[in-house]
Structure formats: C-alpha cells, structure tokens
Amino acid sequence: MSSDHRASDVVLRTSAAARSGLDPARTVLDNRAVLLTKATHTTPAVTINLAIRAGSIADATGLPGMTWLLSRAIDRGTVTRAAADIAEELDSRGITLTITVTRHLFSLVCTCLADDFEPVLALLGEMLVSPSLPDEEIATRKGEVITAIRQDEDSPAVRATEALMALLYPAGHPYGRRTKGSIDVVERLTRAQLLQLHADRFAPSELTAVVVGDVETARAADVAARVFDGWRKPVPAPIALPPVALVNERRRVVIPMMNKAQADIAYGFTTITRRDPAYYAFWLMNNAFGQYAIGGRLGDSIRERQGMAYYVSSSLDANVAPGPLVIRAGVSPANVDRAVASIDEEVGRLVREGLTPKELDESRRYLIGSIPRALETNAAIANFLQTAEFFGLGLDYDMRLPELLGAVTLDEVTEAARRALDPDRATVVIAGPYE
C-alpha cells in the first residue's frame, strides 16, 4: 500500500466514525413513484425536492426549449387553482419555488416551514400532476424566456460554453442543445404541444419525491403517498440517446464580442458516464487538476503564478451519456493566447505525468473530509439523495463514498487523464473582445 493510501485511510476512518450515515427511508408506491424521506431537526423547516425524469432530452424533435418553457409555466395554474392563487399560497408562506431543467431531470424544489409541509407538498404535487398551462401565462412566460435568450447572447461566458457543448455533442445530440432553445422555436411553441409533452413524459414511474427536514419519516412518507398514490399513467417509452462522437482533432472557434471587456475561454472534452467504474478516478483527477483550493493546478498556474485570470477551473459532468470535462477561464483579451497555451501545457503535463502522490492524497482527503459539510443542510441532503437515486448509487452511498474514493490509485488517475484528455484533441472556444 502506498503512503497516500495510508494517509487517506486515517481520514476515511475519521469520517465514517463521525457520522452514522443519512440512512433515508425509501418507499416505492404501487404506481412506481419513489419516495425518499429523511428526518432532520436542525431548523423547523423542510425541503421538498420532486424530480421527474423528463429533462431537456425530452424536447420533441426540432423543438429544443420545449421542456424549458414548460418549466416556466407548470406552476402557473392547475386544474383547481389559478396562477394568482398559487402565487398567494406560496408567497404567504415565504416560499420560493425553484423549477430547474437539466439534461435528464425536471425538478420542483422548495424549502418551507415544517408547519406548512403538508399543504405545500399537496400544492407541488398538483402542479406536477395536473398543470393547466393557461394560454395567457404561456404568452407571458415566452416573453421572459426570449429575454433570457437575448441576455445569454450578450454573455461571453454563456456563448463560449454553449458553443463548446454544440461542438462536443454535434448533430442534434441533446447534450449539445441549448436548454432554453432558440427564439424562433419558443415563439411558435403552443399550449397543445406543452400539454402533449406533459402527457407523454410526466408519469409516476418517472418521479422521485425527496423530503428532508423537520418532519418524521413516517408522516412524510404518508403525506407523500396521499399526494401521489392516485396518479395513474403508463410508463413512458425510454428516450434513446445517440452515441457521443469521438473527437480526433483539435478545434478552435472564436466568437468576437467586441463590446465586452473580458474574454471567456471554454476548453473541453467528452469523458465518461456516471456509472463508469472509472468515475471516482476521474473525479479525483478533476479535483486536483481544476478545483482543489483555488482551481487546482490550473489555478496555480494561470491565476496564482501568472496573474492572468480572476477565475479558472475545470468541471466534470459525467452523466447518463459520456459527459464533458470543461475548463473555463475569464481573461483579458491580451492574455487569451497565453492562457490557452498554459491550459494546453497543464493538460499535457497531466497526461504525461499524472498526479503526484501528494496531490492525490490532498484531493482525496478534501473530498472525503468535506462530506459532513456537503450534507449539512436539508436542501443539500435532498439534492444528494436525488442524485443517488437517479444514478442507482444506493441508500448507503454517503457511507460508501469514502471507501470508493479511498480505493482509487495513482495509476487509475493517470489512466483517466490519458483516456479523456489530450491537447491535440481539445475543443477550444473563445468568446469576447478577441479576433
């Protein structure tokens, strides 16, 4: 056993001893909806996180942005409540309802006072099961979405990232599409299309309802069962994802935005799926490379040593299909070429030399040691449980995680870097005052 293993074993034991684990309760209703509940008593509040497996990949062919528009309108009326009544019900309880759309999930999330849990879950359930999608609400929400798309068009960071994703996932792959869609598509979407999307993709078999907070597990499960047990719909057909194309050449795209002061660089690769056994090696590799402290190795080079950027980091988004590893930096236009060269150099060094034992040990200690902090709040626990359920990681995932990270070797990390990263196959997008 290497020295880095021994060091992390200490952290592993400390972490496991310090925690008894989340140990959530999991129930599957007759209609195949999944309920996950966890009682905590930190504050008199409850987080409700309802996720339907109907993210932007569910957009109908040729209609990107459809799911996003549905997310803007789904809480604006149900078969029994008008939009104004819903607004009053949420506002009077101090609740902000956040509705998000990722590639695979459509989520309704809020935190409410424990006393309000029951009526709030009933309201959210009704939104999810029986939205009315009034025409006038859709029209107003379209205006908001179009404005947001126009704001994105003026953001170098968004432009760079979206262009990178389109290059990494070409030919209409759902991962390469803008989640918000395009203005022309949004303008012509109809209520009937949104209702059809809801009818096709929203079903109890696609729902995971997570409740975390100051409510006893049995009661939370009972309330959730009452809200969702009567929902009966057939299981939707699975959505097939096209294969992710391999990139065999270096590509560089510049999006001139001469009205801006700073350029944004997005530099990336496709990597692996979340269920890939190499995931934990990739996670540690990415942490040491572009996250640890202020941006890992990238931060050391580009921010700390060369003073070129306020931010530089990398992110790994392993998903159902092989997700991207994206390096992002914001730099003065005069430093763009030097910053890209520095990223090339760090990517090349990582592939050639891998991490040092010290780097691997540091990242491992950090990721394991940060678990209690990452699971401190109700919202964070609920999000963790949703992720574990979506990827089938198990109810004891929080307790197994230290072991999974602890088992990764230096060779595995080096292999991960060699498998996915290569400056000669990098896709680079620069958006900003640069030509």
Partner: protein, 433 residues
C-alpha cells in the same frame, strides 16, 4: 451566544451548534470601501486578496490545502463597510482555523511580486464584472447617487487607481486596519465555548492592539432633485435601475423599509451571504404584478442591504425583449407613488412579516450562515440588532411603513439609471448623466 472582549480589543462571539460535526470561523474587520480615499479606491478589496498569499508562519506554498485537508472551505469578501474571512471545516480543524486567522491579522507578507501578480487578477475581476450590463449600470447608478460619501465608488475600485496603487499603499493600509481592536472573531459550531475561548486567547491574545484607525466621516448631503444617467452601449437587453437614499440599519426606518421592500418585490431576509442567492417569494408582490405579470419586464428585484450608514434602496428591472424602458419606468414610478399615497394594506403587512420570519429560519440552516449573521451585524452596528430582528419585524405598523415610503420614495431622492442597448456592432458611446 457568548460575547467576550479581550484586552487587546478583539471582540469574540461564540455560539454552540451541535447539529453537525462542523465549525465555522469568521474574522471580520471594520474596513471596507467606504474607508478609501480618492486614488486608493479598491484598496480594501485588494488587501483582502493579498491576505491569502502566505504569512510569516504560513509559507506561500503551504497556503494551498491548509484548510482543505480538513475537508474545509475558505473564502472572504469585501464590501462597503467590512472585510471578512471565513473557514468552515470539521470541528477538529478549529485550532487550524484560528491559527490561519491570527496569522492573517498580524503577519501577512505583501511580497512585491505577489502584489503585482494580483493587480492583473483584480483588473480581470473588474473587467469580468463590466461584461455584465446590469452590474455596470449598478456601479454607475451608485456613483451618480452619491456626490460626497465614499459609498459612491465601487468596492472593486476605479481602474486608474488599480493601475497605479503601490505595494507600500497596500501594506500601510493593511497595518492600519488589521488590528485586534478593529476586528470581531466569530465561532459557531460543534465547539465548547470555554475551550474555544482558551484557544482564541492562545492564538490572538498576544497580538498587540493598534491605534484606532482614522475614519473618513463625509456625510452625504440631502439630495435635492432627481438624477438620471443613461448608458448607451452595445448589448441585447435593456435594464432599468432606480435608487433611493435609504435608512441605515440603526435608523428606526430600517425595519419598516424591509417590510416595504417585501411588499414591493418579496422578502429577501437579512443575510448578504446566503439569502441574496435565492430569489425571494415575489409573485404576489406589487412590482412583480405591475411589471412582470403585465409583460413589461422579465424580472424585477429590490435590494435593501443592512449598512452602517445610509446607503441605497434599489429596484432593478430587466425589460422584456421589445419593450422600451420609458413605459417600464412609468409603471414602476406609478407603483411607488401609489404606496406613498396610500401606504400598504393590513394583509400585505401580515404577509410580509410571515415571509421575513420564514426567511430568518431558512437563513439559519448552517453554521456558516449563522456565523455570518453574527459577525456581519456586529461589524456594521451591533449583533443585538440581529438578535432583535424577529421582534423588530413583528413590531412594524402600517403607519411606520407609510412614513418610510413617503420619506424614501420622493422624486428628489431618486436616481434613475437606464442601460439602453445599441445594436451589436454599432460601437458604443459614453454615459449621459
């Protein structure tokens, strides 16, 4: 929560929270951009950056990982009244966190090479902010609203000052303000108070107090007429921002103003660190219904931040694509005039109070958030204001809200800013003020 003041003037606030095996340490300094004179704007924030770059006893190459090895996170921020640093990690890292903060207070190095390297990092941060038209408008509106008070310049500083400031400027500023008698140390988490105090004394007890830092005491004269500015610059979206000089946190009008903001745009709570990252509950609010529900705007937000001296209450609006700013402004001003004329209703007051009560609960969901609130209020005024917030909110009356609305929303107290986008590729012009 126990409050203790050491002989060297350091104030220490400790609150035990045994809900998770974590501790959060924040060290607050009463220095922010309001303490900066012309020519040195941005120096407080630059010093904050320098104070992460090694000390006499923490070599530069050992800064990285010093708290991460405990699974911890660290950060810092600077604003108009304050500069603060935090670490949150497992409870066994308490000594490490206190050591870091004691070193930061007394022994930072300010190596000339690091100062130069950080100059370009901060200019990059400034330019990144300027990429956002809304942020640019906010900066220009604040500068227009304040003629005399140092709240008027941006915390990040003006570019010419950032280009010319020297290492000696930075180090002198650091030594003047980073003294125990200008600081508050906050510990919240799975600690035992008496033992934690002993550890604080071990690390901080020997640090000598400094001369009480001198303060710039310019008061903003009363505004005597509406001010306007328009930024015409290439862009895709139009933004409107309206600012009013507003009550400081110690002003009796502050909590009525907080209620009024909740009625207009939704309750944000009082936590600059957390609650401003979560949108407020606002769909039934007056300005949301007047602007967003009618399709004039895609978003509206209000901002009342607790500050030591009177700052601004601002309303920010993103105009819907294709809607001109004129009608948006007219609707906004009409809604504010209406609240001046008629006040708010009893139902609105009850709802705003319920929203704020809920936000105070939601904002106390972690040791980090709790520690922030204790230190924030102690630094700008007194922690007692924070602990009394629930009762102060409950005590606000309809008359209090009506009075503060008439006081704040007068046209002569108003500064109006437009970001009026020019077509992309057409070239930009300077602002009109």
């Amino acid at each position: 929560m126990r409050s203790t003041t050491f002989d060297n003037g350091l104030k220490v606030l400790i609150q035990e929270e045994h809900t998770a095996p974590l501790a959060s340490v924040w060290c607050w300094y009463k220095v922010g951009s309001k303490d900066e004179r012309p020519g040195l704007t941005g120096i407080s924030h630059w010093c904050e950056h320098m104070n992460f770059k090694g000390t006499a006893n923490i070599p530069r190459d050992q800064v990285k990982g010093i708290i991460e090895q405990y699974g911890g996170t660290w950060n810092g921020y600077t604003w108009i009244d304050q500069t603060t640093y935090l670490e949150t990690a497992t409870r066994d890292a308490l000594d490490r966190m206190l050591f870091i903060e004691s070193e930061r207070m007394a022994s930072c190095l300010y190596h000339p090479d690091d100062c130069e390297s950080e100059r370009t990092v901060i200019i990059s941060e400034l330019q990144g902010g300027e990429n956002d038209p809304d942020q640019l408008l906010d900066q220009e509106l604040t500068a227009t609203a304040f003629k005399a008070h140092t709240y008027g310049h941006p915390t990040i500083g003006w570019l010419p000052d950032l280009q010319t400031m020297t290492r000696d400027d930075l180090y002198g500023y650091y030594r003047r303000y980073y003294v125990p008698n200008n600081a508050t140390l906050v510990i919240v988490g799975d600690v035992e108070t008496d033992e934690a105090l002993r550890r604080v004394n071990h690390y901080f007890g020997g640090i000598q107090p400094g001369t009480a830092p001198s303060r710039i005491v310019t008061l903003e004269p009363e505004q005597t007429g509406e001010r306007r500015l328009t930024i015409r610059k290439e862009g895709t979206t139009a933004y409107l921002k309206v600012g009013f000089h507003a009550p400081s946190v110690t002003d009796p009008g502050f909590f009525p103003m907080l209620i009024l903001d909740a009625v207009l745009t939704g309750a944000k709570g009082l936590n600059l660190w957390s609650s401003f990252r979560v949108p407020p509950p606002q769909r039934s609010t007056r300005l949301y219904r007047a602007l967003v529900e009618r399709g004039l705007a895609s978003s509206v937000t209000g901002a009342l931040v607790p500050t030591a001296q009177p700052f601004l209450y601002s309303v920010s609006v993103t105009a819907t694509e294709g809607v001109a700013l004129g009608p948006v402004e007219s609707e906004l001003i009409e809604a504010l005039d209406r609240v001046c004329r008629d006040g708010i209703t009893d139902a609105e007051l009850t709802k705003a109070q319920a929203q704020l009560r809920a936000r105070l609960v939601f904002d106390s969901d972690s040791v980090t958030n709790i520690a922030h609130q204790l230190g924030y209020f102690e630094t700008i005024a007194s922690v007692d204001i924070f602990t009394a917030a629930p009762s102060r909110i409950a005590a606000v009356t309809l008359e209090d809200v009506a009075a503060v609305a008439r006081r704040v929303f007068s046209s002569s107290n108003r500064t109006v800013g437009w970001f009026d986008p020019l077509p992309l590729g057409s070239g930009s012009t300077k602002s009109d003020v």
